[in-house]
Symmetry: C2
Subunit: 877 residues, 2 copies
């Protein structure tokens, strides 16, 4: 039998999401539940992949299956495609496995042509509706399917409105609309050198192809990359009988959530517009009414809707996000899906569902997107600063969090300012999918129009970016590079502050402060820790970061980069003196100046981390990073150190490298200059002794040697460390344990780890460098071609953000296996920046990593990821 | 039972070389053969390693075993250590597994003290001999054991000679020598604040320790590194009863070879000096007589010696290098070993031994050091140029090959000149072990004194460097930076030419030409090919190199680096135009200019390699390597291309990279700019079509994609290649096969090779880059710390010269296994510079590599190495 590429709604169910896409699977499920769903069929994601495999051609068998499904749909609906007397109109919509709101294309009212439109006008006795639908269809088809600029049609409409002195679209008479259809078809012909297609089946096939193509449009690609959706998934296409929310005042359309997506509150939440099509709500052109108003307007429909909502939530065991249309008083469900929500809402809903007995703790933890926790750690306004600040306008509290930055009026400007290191708030009349990259670099988004479900609101919530939408006192003058906010003109670049939790807008620079783990957040984190196997440490180089890490639940410091301690202005001089030294003696003299400062750093950190391990990585970067490179600076340095400019320049030149990443750095420094390791060990151990004896602190120093490639390198440095440390401990006459371990960040270290494991007390994967060398990608240079690699699908995700399991992961797994052969409890950590990426944490769990270490702010994300990994793969040790 | 650290000679044998060292094992073997060997014992290499392990201390059990062996030796010899009436004197010599001539220390006449010397004078009735021996011993002990500068003693001797008006050492009377001993002891005391040790057992232990220490002296370390001798081997110490060649005119000492070490001729070859100790011969201070003269001088001893020589050669089945001493008419054998020889001699001896039925072809092949073949490929003087050249002096033809270069008078100067890219001939009075690095960078060595077995001659032969020794018409004035050669003064830096095969010296610049494979060389190479499994290809980028490769027996081109074709003056402009292009169209225009040139290159190479495969690697280096970096050059380029200076500078700046090794290069270029791969494919395939159709050439192009890290990269570029190639072949309407494969030079490519192997038609390991990234060593920068790594024994050999089996080798083996799982004949080559290193070829054989590819001149070395690997490990496929 031929492969099945097309499923009627009644043939599918919710489990067929991979094949039918999310929308298609849920339409099928709702059909099975007996809910009022306009019937239709889904062309599968496999058909999409086949389309690309066949060279962007829809094969005959797929076409035939579409036609067969169409005929069955005609039967069910009692209407017929292209039949003037009883025309079937359909919508054609994309639907991928994962929700990608607004990223791909939709065509409504398909099936209309010059004849059918007349029939429809007669049938509905509503020529205004019929011609309005037709002109919308022509525009959409020309734009989405044929790539004609929508503006061309809008201009033609504006021309008529101007000529007639109309102000609103609804002022257009049926005759105007009829004329407009004629004009639109003329534009279509002029632009495309062909007539607008009159055959509905041709329209349908072209629309299906357009949806397939839209899977690879640039904004869909960006969205996929941001959300880790593989290109291989493809999109399904849903062809569904049209129902019309724009057939008069007894018709309407809306979207609703079973719980509040911003707060999680258990109450129906949504908006609707009477006499409108769905696109009107989503586009944010008119401001809709709250769903509760429907109770007054049409109590019967409202009651039916509430009952459906309850049924769906119980069925899916999660908060639902639904679209519906009322056609002449009859309710139709067009979509349901698990609703997107803010992080606070996600926590509250998860906890409530457990309390309501609907789901288990494990299910609750799996429902929360780890990355979304980031939102909870976003800043709020400093309470004192806020008191003095003045609210100049308010809008909808569309995505929580406080943001303050300089105004950017276009996504391009936002990116440009972000690149310069400026904090940016993107201010737009309304946002559209093209703005997505600009939104990604902004701390907050402010729009003049659009509701809680407008594009700006949905996308900002997804990103965890603060958003105030529908701020009516705002007008954006993009051409003049300014906005007018409650009567005051602000230039692009001026400060603005928004609070996405209250909707307040401020025309000033307000200090923000960080959030803490309390309430629902704390509950979920404690649940996570019950299940997680992989521990979470933090990367912290100073007392402040260590304190923050502890507050956010870190179980230790996994990476303290000692060189960061060297850059402070009062220390860099001694560091430079050390580098400029021409022999070991002079070097030691300079190192002795650094020693007390470094010791002080460690004392402070040990105190904060009382009872927890602190992993200290020894000097790692190439020495030239500490030296000045400008002539003027070199001259100053020469004077300071009593050298000639030429002497300094010679040293700077001699330390410059062709490939510093693979040059004189890491343990290579301490091998050539053992006095560095000696000084650092002295600082660590003296600090530990002081903490233990004077401050009664429980210290657990873990000394980590960077950039090992061979066991002999490790042994050489370890011996220096142990000799120095033991002498100090003996002299102090106390008991003090410390560990000496190594980074695994050179491929050869991973390969030969069986040997290294015999001598090291712990391993920590430096996944940044390991990724660089395994791929042969210089992180600083790869930007030049990685964009191209994404475009060409050679890479699907950034290996510096997510551990590459096939390559880098192979080396890690090999290493863990070798280490555990030596000692089944051998401590293996990860301290690269991938340490908090949920999929990387899952990988870490699967291969038996002891802990991941990440920046303090990402600790909660890693904790939840670790719990999810353990729940998903409980067998793993 | 306690571990045995000391073996009497009669307890050992030749197979115990690892434990007893070469010298010790052979002394034992000769003892067992009943030859006249002064008895003694060997302290094992394990004792040396224990000495280092114990922190440079000789442990009590070793000391006791030494004393026990000493007592047994006293019994055998009938003499006694420290006994005035019948004193035993011993020599203490190093002896590692591998011969390291002159690299470590020797102490003679040990056992003498103020009393014993008087006894010896009486016993021998030769006070001159006794005191001369004592003053030599004090000097040697002070120098070698205690580190006192030898010059201090020589000065004291010169003072007496001056005072007395003597010209030669032998003018010194016994009384003078007695006085000298007194002076020497005073110097000893002054320098060391202690008396010269009178207790022979103390002398002995200190001497043993000194030999152990000498294992790690700087020249031994350099020698080991050059000859791949691991530091872990350690040295043995041989303690042997002294026999004296300096007891009068019926005494003497000499060295001899059973065959001529320079030519391989089957005839006893050697030198001796009457009334002398061994050091006098080796040091080249007096010029000795040829061994054949001994027949006249002492026919009986000569006959006995010849008979011993024959016995030893038959026993060891190889040419022997022997040391002997005649004490008062009695012959003693002090050493035998397989003799070092020139490459031509090695070939002749190996072939002769097979002809004589002594060994098999396999044994013969194993006897030849592959690296030594290098000598045979050294240049000879151009015949025409030689006709016009004038011989101004002659010396001993100590190491074959012609060399012409500028005079350097010190090793430092030689190194300095070499660094500047100059050709150097090192000219010295005589060389010493300290000169070894200077010799290594010189094309030839010329000395004024010393024979065929002098330091200069032995070391130069080992290195394959041309050497003329003992050139009596030469006087070197190091202080004046000049030499006088047959009356003519030549300044340092002037041209000189030497012929190590004839001994001729020329004071001019003579053109040299390359050698070819004929005669014995051809015989051995054909034998080698009978056994070798690993094929040998060559790296060649042009017609000339390809021709040379074919002459030297390459079975194909394993690496043609297309970028080398781009640098020629008339091409670089088009290449730069291509790089400067801002879009694909402009880039294609520039590429079209390069296309015919590149096609021409390939036509020429295909013609040369008719019937053999040619592996073409596509553009690999970062583009900025093709661009000028000086402002002036950039301005010229701007003018040429009709751009502004700023435009050019912006492009140059934008292409500069932090770590170019891991940047925008290799296949990444063709992925971002597919038109490059398209042009290169067009050039390859059009050239192949032209060769096939117009020139009747059998073409086998193998297209190789560089720097693959993921199968998707390979597929992307392969698809471009295949599309382009197939279109051209179809158009031409002919049959033409080509292969598309990939380099394996990124660790990730090796790790994920199972996937890549499914799509590639061959693999070639780029062991240079693979080593860089596996170690995280930038080849251009690692020099800064690798020296330190060798000093500290963290690395024993340069991984860019010899494949690192543990790390890089693991990835290679993993890859070969994956490839062979896809296809058991999957072609896996090596095209890194390690391709001709004998141990690397052996590794290649062991893991089943199909071919290695190296520079044309190293092809014969690789062929022999491959044969040896197959003979040593015949089981490997």
């Amino acid at each position: 039998m031929a492969k099945k590429y097309v499923y009627l709604f009644k043939e599918g169910n919710a489990d067929m999401r991979n094949l039918l896409g999310g929308k298609g699977a849920n339409l099928a499920e709702m059909t099975n539940l007996g809910l009022p769903v306009p019937q239709g069929f889904t062309v599968t994601t496999e058909a999409c992949n086949k389309y690309y495999k066949d060279g962007e051609v829809v094969s005959d068998d797929v076409v035939n299956q579409i036609y067969t499904a169409l005929e069955k749909t005609e039967k069910v609906s009692g209407k017929q495609f292209g039949n003037k007397q009883n025309p079937l109109l359909v919508s054609v919509r994309s639907g991928a496995r994962a929700s990608m709101p607004g990223m791909m294309d939709t065509i409504l009212n398909l099936g209309l042509n010059d004849e059918v439109v007349e029939g429809l006008a007669e049938l509905t006795s509503n020529p205004r509706f019929a011609y309005d639908s037709y002109r919308r269809f022509i525009t959409m088809f020309a734009d989405v399917v044929m790539g004609v600029d929508r503006l061309k049609f809008e201009k033609a409409m504006d021309k008529i409105k101007e000529a007639k002195g109309y102000t609103k679209d609804t002022d257009l008479t049926p005759e105007d609309l009829k004329k407009l259809v004629k004009d639109f078809k003329a534009i279509y012909k002029k632009e495309l050198k062909q007539d607008f297609p009159q055959e509905p089946r041709v329209q349908l096939l072209e629309a299906v192809k357009a949806v397939f193509r839209s899977w690879n449009n640039p904004r869909a690609e960006v969205y996929r990359r941001m959300n880790d959706i593989p290109a291989e998934w493809g999109t399904a296409v849903n062809v569904q009988c049209m129902v019309f929310g724009n057939m008069g005042d007894d018709s309407g359309t809306g979207v609703a959530f079973t719980r509040n997506p911003a707060t999680g509150e258990k109450a129906l939440f949504g908006e609707y517009l009477m006499n409108a099509q769905g696109e009107d709500v989503v586009a944010g052109i008119r401001t809709p009414s709250p769903i509760t108003h429907l109770e007054e307007q049409n109590p019967q429909v409202y009651k039916q809707f509430v009952s459906i909502c309850n049924k769906l939530e119980k069925h899916y065991k999660d908060m639902q996000d639904m679209e519906f249309t009322i056609e002449k008083g009859k309710l139709y469900m067009l979509q349901t899906r698990n609703g997107k929500r803010t992080a606070p809402a996600a926590l509250r809903i998860a906890i409530d569902l457990v309390k309501e007995g609907m789901i288990s703790k494990k299910d609750a933890l799996l429902k929360i997107e780890p990355k979304s926790l980031d939102q909870l750690l976003h800043p709020t306004f400093d309470a004192a600063a806020l008191k003095k600040a003045k609210v100049v306008a308010t809008g909808l509290a569309a995505s929580p969090g406080a943001a303050c930055g300089k105004i950017a009026l276009t996504p391009e400007k936002a990116k440009e300012m972000h690149k310069k290191g400026e904090k940016v708030v993107l201010v737009r009349s309304e946002t559209s999918p093209e703005d997505i990259e600009g939104m990604a670099v902004s701390l907050g988004v402010l729009t003049a129009t659009g509701g809680m479900t407008s594009h700006a609101a949905v996308v900002a919530r997804g990103m965890g970016t603060a958003c105030v939408a529908g701020c009516t006192k705002l007008s954006v003058r993009e051409d003049k590079k300014e906005i007018v906010l409650a009567g005051t003109t602000l230039k692009e670049g001026a400060y603005i502050a928004i609070d996405g939790s209250t909707g307040n807008v401020y025309a000033e620079n307000i200090k923000t402060t960080d959030a803490a783990i309390t309430g629902d957040f704390a509950t979920i984190m404690s649940w996570a820790d019950e299940f997680a196997k992989v521990k979470v440490r933090a990367n912290a180089d100073n007392e402040r970061d260590a304190t923050r890490a502890l507050e956010l639940g870190a179980t230790g410091i996994g990476l303290c980069r000692t060189e960061h301690m060297f850059f402070e202005a009062n220390r860099i001089k001694a560091v430079r003196e050390m580098i400029i030294a021409t022999d070991a003696k002079a070097r030691e003299k300079a190192l002795n100046k650094i020693l007390p400062m470094q010791k002080g750093d460690f004392v402070a950190m040990f105190k904060v981390m009382n009872g927890l391990p602190v992993t200290i990585r020894y000097l790692d970067p190439p020495l030239h990073e500490f030296l000045p490179h400008e002539e003027a600076e070199m001259k100053v340095l020469a004077k300071e150190l009593g050298k000639t400019f030429q002497e300094i320049k010679d040293i700077v030149d001699s330390l410059s490298e062709f490939n510093p990443m693979m040059g004189f750095r890491g343990c290579r420094l301490s091998i050539v200059m053992p006095e560095i390791a000696r000084m650092q060990t002295t600082a660590v151990i003296e600090a530990a002794i002081e903490c233990k004896t004077k401050h009664n602190v429980d210290v657990h120093p873990e000394i980590m040697v960077p950039l090992i490639g061979d066991v002999k390198e490790f042994l050489y440095v370890r011996n220096i460390i142990v000799e120095t440390a033991d002498a100090l401990i003996n002299k102090a006459g106390i008991e003090l344990t410390y560990k000496v371990g190594t980074m695994i960040e050179i491929p050869r270290a991973a390969i030969t780890s069986a040997e290294i494991a015999k001598h090291a007390q712990f391993f920590s994967f430096g996944t940044n460098d390991l990724t660089q060398m395994t791929f042969g990608f210089s992180r600083d240079d790869a930007g030049k071609f990685l964009g191209n690699y994404y475009d060409k699908r050679i890479l699907e995700s950034d290996p510096f953000v997510r551990i590459d399991e096939q390559g880098v992961g192979y080396l890690m797994e090999h290493t863990v296996k070798n280490a555990r052969a030596v000692d089944k409890n051998f401590k293996c950590g990860i301290c690269g920046e991938q340490g908090a990426d949920p999929l990387s944490v899952q990988f870490a769990h699967n291969i038996g990593i002891t802990y991941v270490s990440c920046s303090p702010f990402r600790v909660p994300i890693a904790r939840l990821s670790a719990a999810q990994a353990a729940i998903r793969n409980p067998k793993c040790k």
